[in-house]
């Protein structure tokens, strides 16, 4: 077994050198007044927008809102980058901001999160129409699985299962204990395996 993807983030507490320019001389000072250099901030945007977007979608922020919420996240990142002290990875710090903004956006919508809207292109890279259909169905099932979760469980799912944060990082983002994260992961993994197992059995002739 192996993880879903190779993590290429820098070690915890050590922001990537390429980000140092973005942090400016005020990084670590906590002043919050240091604005990133434009090119460096653009790099931060490029490197994290997809993950932030997935986190927001995974949390259940409405599809129509994600664009605006993601923009807010990066405006805040721009404002606050000078306060980043390097005590966590930059990605974790950005996730923390995204989680807080997303949680508030989600709170404003007093109804069940919408299912993921699959764009045609999302299934266009697979080998055949049948495979595309199967993959789309799989995604719908996973989205239904997530939609049925409590917000707390769902947040752990997207952070640990989709974004592959460590327990410690997820705990930091969510403001909960590592043990709570681990407990939720254990339950989620069991439930996910049940879903996938049922799906596999259903696919048998």
């Amino acid at each position: 077994m192996r993880s879903l993807a190779t993590t290429e983030h820098p070690p915890p507490g050590d922001p990537a050198p390429r980000h140092r320019a973005a942090l400016g001389s005020g990084a670590g000072s906590g002043s919050g007044s240091q604005e990133p250099e434009p090119g460096a901030f653009r790099q931060i945007f490029d490197e994290h927008i997809a993950a932030v977007w997935r986190l927001l979608r995974g949390m259940g922020v409405e599809a129509a809102q994600v664009d605006d919420v993601a923009q807010e996240v990066f405006l805040i990142v721009h404002d606050k980058i000078g306060q980043f002290e390097g005590r966590s990875r930059l990605s974790t710090w950005i996730f923390s901001i995204a989680y807080r903004v997303g949680a508030n956006a989600r709170r404003k919508v007093q109804r069940a999160p919408a299912f993921v809207e699959l764009e045609p292109s999302l299934v266009g890279s697979v080998a055949s129409p049948e495979e595309a259909s199967e993959q789309a169905e799989l995604v719908r099932e996973l989205d239904a699985f997530c939609a049925a979760l409590s917000e707390g469980m769902r947040d752990v799912f997207v952070l640990c299962f989709v974004e592959e944060l460590s327990f410690r990082e997820a705990a930091e983002v969510l403001g909960i204990s590592i043990n709570t994260v681990a407990s939720r992961v254990r339950l989620l993994k069991t439930s996910l395996r049940e879903v996938l197992s049922a799906r596999s059995k259903g696919a048998l002739p």
Binding site: H48, A50, R54, D68, H78, E85, A105, E117, E119
Partner: protein, 280 residues
């Protein structure tokens, strides 16, 4: 180090990979977000963009959660056109539904390394927060002064621009037309969106009609037409909305809104059906 609980077999890995792909933004969505951030920061902070495929619908980071970080070049963006930036920003507004959606932040569990989120930063979908004075005009293309958005009147009913013949705001872009400054277009569409969000489609439609009368051309034709469409839907004028949908499709970049239109009252139009079917 990977937690043992977060190791997966092949089936699980594929399932989560597919879900990750579905959650990832398309290139067009990233561009829209970038456009909004750029506009809010004065259109200078994110200058110097990478390559671009404005119409790309391919989801980003389909490989893994770190793909976006590891493959910065995969985020194909185009900032070559300032107008396109604002257009993308407006796309975000239109797709985002009601303007000023979030309101005030409420405190969450404290985290010492997480900055407190400024309330003001969440008060509008595309906040107009001008920063530093823009660089000299000789060095930069004309920039949109987003600060003026807040100064715009509630649409004064100005005279149509001379030489602009199209009466209803859905004429194709014409070099001879005298488009209004983009910030005025942006302001009008924002107000129309706010009116829609407030349950006042008549006002939204009127704003778009007046904008169309004043300026047949512009940078935000798709967003204007889409706003008209939604207002017409809200008013139960489905036939006109269908016509608007057809116009949106014909405009450059209009195809990006197929899914959005498919969810409107004209969702049964042939090309909307196609979009829906393609999505499942």
């Amino acid at each position: 180090m990977t937690e043992p609980l977060l190791e997966w077999n092949e089936e699980e890995r594929q399932a989560l990979g597919a879900y990750r792909q579905a959650l990832s933004p398309t290139g067009a969505q990233v561009k829209a977000a970038l456009g909004g951030v750029s506009a809010s920061l004065g259109l200078s902070v994110l200058d110097g963009a990478a390559a671009a495929t404005a119409t790309s619908q391919a989801p980003l980071s389909a490989v893994g959660p770190s793909a976006g970080a590891a493959k910065g070049t995969a985020v194909v963006l185009d900032l070559a056109s300032r107008a396109a930036l604002v257009k993308a920003s407006l796309g975000a507004i239109v797709l985002g539904g009601a303007v000023a959606a979030y309101g005030l932040l409420e405190p969450l569990a404290p985290n010492p390394d997480v900055p407190s989120v400024p309330v003001a930063a969440l008060s509008a979908s595309v906040p107009a927060r001008p920063r530093e004075a823009p660089p000299p005009a000789s060095q930069e293309p004309p920039q949109v002064d987003v600060s003026r958005l807040e100064e715009l009147p509630e649409w004064p009913g100005e005279e149509p621009a001379r030489g602009v013949a199209a009466p209803r705001g859905h004429a194709p872009r014409s070099p001879s037309a005298s488009p209004r400054p983009v910030y005025e277009e942006l302001g009008a569409v924002r107000r129309a969106q706010a009116a829609l969000g407030a349950g006042q489609p008549e006002q939204a439609l009127e704003l778009m009609e007046r904008l169309g009368q004043a300026s047949a051309g512009g940078s935000l034709l798709v967003e204007r037409e889409l706003t008209r469409l939604l207002a017409l839907c809200a008013l139960g004028r489905r036939a006109e909305a269908q016509a608007a949908a057809a116009r949106v499709e014909q405009l450059p970049g209009g195809a990006a809104y197929r899914t959005r239109i498919a969810g409107s009252c004209v969702g049964q139009s042939p090309w909307a059906d196609e979009a829906i079917e393609g999505a499942h």
